[in-house]
Amino acid sequence: MATGTLGTYSPSQSLERRHQQQKRTDFQEVDWARSDGRNFHQCRPAFLRTGAASSASGSAYAEFGSTKVIVSVFGPRESKKAMLYSDVGRLNCHVTYTTFSTPIRGQGFEHKEYSSMLHKALEGAIMLETFPKTTVDIFALVLESGGGDLPVIISCASLAIADAGIMMYDLVSAVSLSCFGKNMVIDPTSEEEACQDGSLMITYMPSRNEVTQFTLTGEWPTARINEAMELCLDACSKLADILRSCLKDNASELTA
């Protein structure tokens, strides 16, 4: 690694180091240890808190390994005058990455489509008829991007909406899965995501048994899609239980 002219620390050094690390780890092997010691079908431990932003109607903070997201919900608020009357509520979702969230500054702009994907994932879960003529704004901020960002954003957002007291059919939980040759790895970190052969993301409402969003990349034979879906749906149900218990703890703290 030539650092001749650079006297001070530079992020490109860590990029080189990661590049070499990737070359060493051969993801095509049958058995390889994940960098944080999990096995293939184990998700990252989730840390969730509601009430992170006190000025918002509802908010939540989620930390899944090194992915840290904060979501604030404002509303229902009056719609802008330019918008036409509508007898169902409107949802406005916005996902932004901080400039320091990615190893290389400003890389978050590659994920412009996350805002509309968040919108679609939550649309089916919120009872829009309960707030006609108004808008609910959902702002998600990714403080650190450690892989599997969109699922964490979606789960955190549904927690924030519940914290805001907006009526929903069910909590939405989301999980993503990476495919490396024959292996399927759930809840990938960013190093694993960068070398994946294929990926699958599901957002799910467990009580209604409904999938609100489903995206798949890479080449998949149908049998593996089945297998991957079952894994993810199981993980989503467990995550929804964790979301629920977080809300209950918060509620009991308030009443205690």
Binding site: L15, H19, Q22, F27, K112, E113, S116, K120, E123, G124, A125, C179, E193, A194, C195, Q196, D197, G198, S199, Y204, M205, R208, N209, E210, V211, T212, Q213, F214, T215, L216, T217, G218, E219, W220, P221, T222, I225, N226, M229, L233
Partner: protein, 289 residues
């Protein structure tokens, strides 16, 4: 598009339930597809695809660039879709931005495979000129001229046709270039390298209206949909990408059922598209002579 009355909505629902859609098609029948290649002389490859009243153009330009540091043996492809206001007045200015972003991401997902490059429809390693230093950057631009539903399928078909029409100029690298500097490359004007498009997948969008799925929905039918699943299938019958669109939730078993129906429908689409592209290329060759 003027809003639909309750009677028209009922007509669409009822027709689909009885396997007889408003234009006489069956649920799993495509509209007639026509493809013209070489429509944009300044691009390296181009094609125009029409599915009924939906009209889209795809153009491909190749420029020399530097490969990404983490992927020194692969070229780069970027897909960008633009919805022109000629399709709908709402697309003017920033109105079409959301739809364009959704279509661009959808096509990138279907055509470019996983991050490691496995399962990609386009072979990125064939775009390399000098490993680590010079590669071809492919810019795939799609333009929606007229929209009557099913934009994703039409764009994927146009891109597939444009890729088979694409000629990448042959590049000769001068020998004796030093290690660090950019090697001298000579881009030839005469010789071209054709792309191998046998691996490029097609996209089949299944729209769920009521309890049934239809293929190739028109704008009216799309306005009545509860949700849609777009599946990208390649020649060997393997799924290369999947996106669920629309807000309403779907039962997981329904999603899997839609995947198998889409695979079945893709076989006819691939056959029709291949014959259309072949005849379009043949007309092109005749004109050139």
């Amino acid at each position: 598009m003027v809003g639909l009355s309750a009677g028209e909505r009922q007509f669409i629902y009822g027709g689909i339930a009885q396997d007889l859609r408003s234009d006489g098609r069956q649920r799993l029948q495509f509209r007639p597809i026509s493809v013209q290649t070489g429509v944009i002389p300044q691009a390296n490859g181009s094609a125009r695809a029409t599915m009924g009243a939906t009209d889209v153009i795809a153009s491909i330009k190749a420029e020399l660039g530097k490969p990404a540091p983490l992927r020194p043996d692969k070229g780069k492809v970027s897909i960008f879709i633009d919805c022109s206001p000629t399709a709908a007045p709402v697309f003017e200015g920033r109105g079409g931005e959301e739809l364009s972003a959704e279509l661009s991401v959808g096509l990138q997902r279907c055509l470019l495979g996983g991050k490691s490059g496995a399962g990609a429809g386009i072979d990125l390693s064939s775009l390399i000129v000098v490993e680590g230093k010079v590669c071809w950057d492919l810019y795939i631009d799609g333009l929606v001229i007229s929209s009557d539903g099913n934009l994703l399928d039409a764009l994927a078909a146009a891109i597939k046709a444009a890729l088979s029409n694409t000629g990448i100029p042959k590049v000769s690298v001068s020998v004796g270039a030093s290690g660090e500097d950019q090697p001298e490359v000579d881009v030839s004007d005469e010789e071209f390298m054709q792309f191998d498009t046998s691996g490029v997948p097609v996209v089949v969008t299944l729209t769920k209206v009521g309890r049934h799925y239809i293929v190739d929905a028109t704008l009216e039918e799309e306005s009545q949909m509860s949700s849609a699943v777009s599946v990208s299938v390649n020649r060997h019958g393997r799924v290369c990408g999947l996106i669920k669109r629309g807000g309403t939730g779907l039962d997981p078993s329904v999603v899997l059922d839609m995947v198998s129906v889409a695979k079945h429908a893709s076989e006819t689409l691939i056959a029709v598209l291949d014959s259309e592209i072949a005849s379009a290329e043949a007309i092109d060759d005749d004109d050139a002579i």
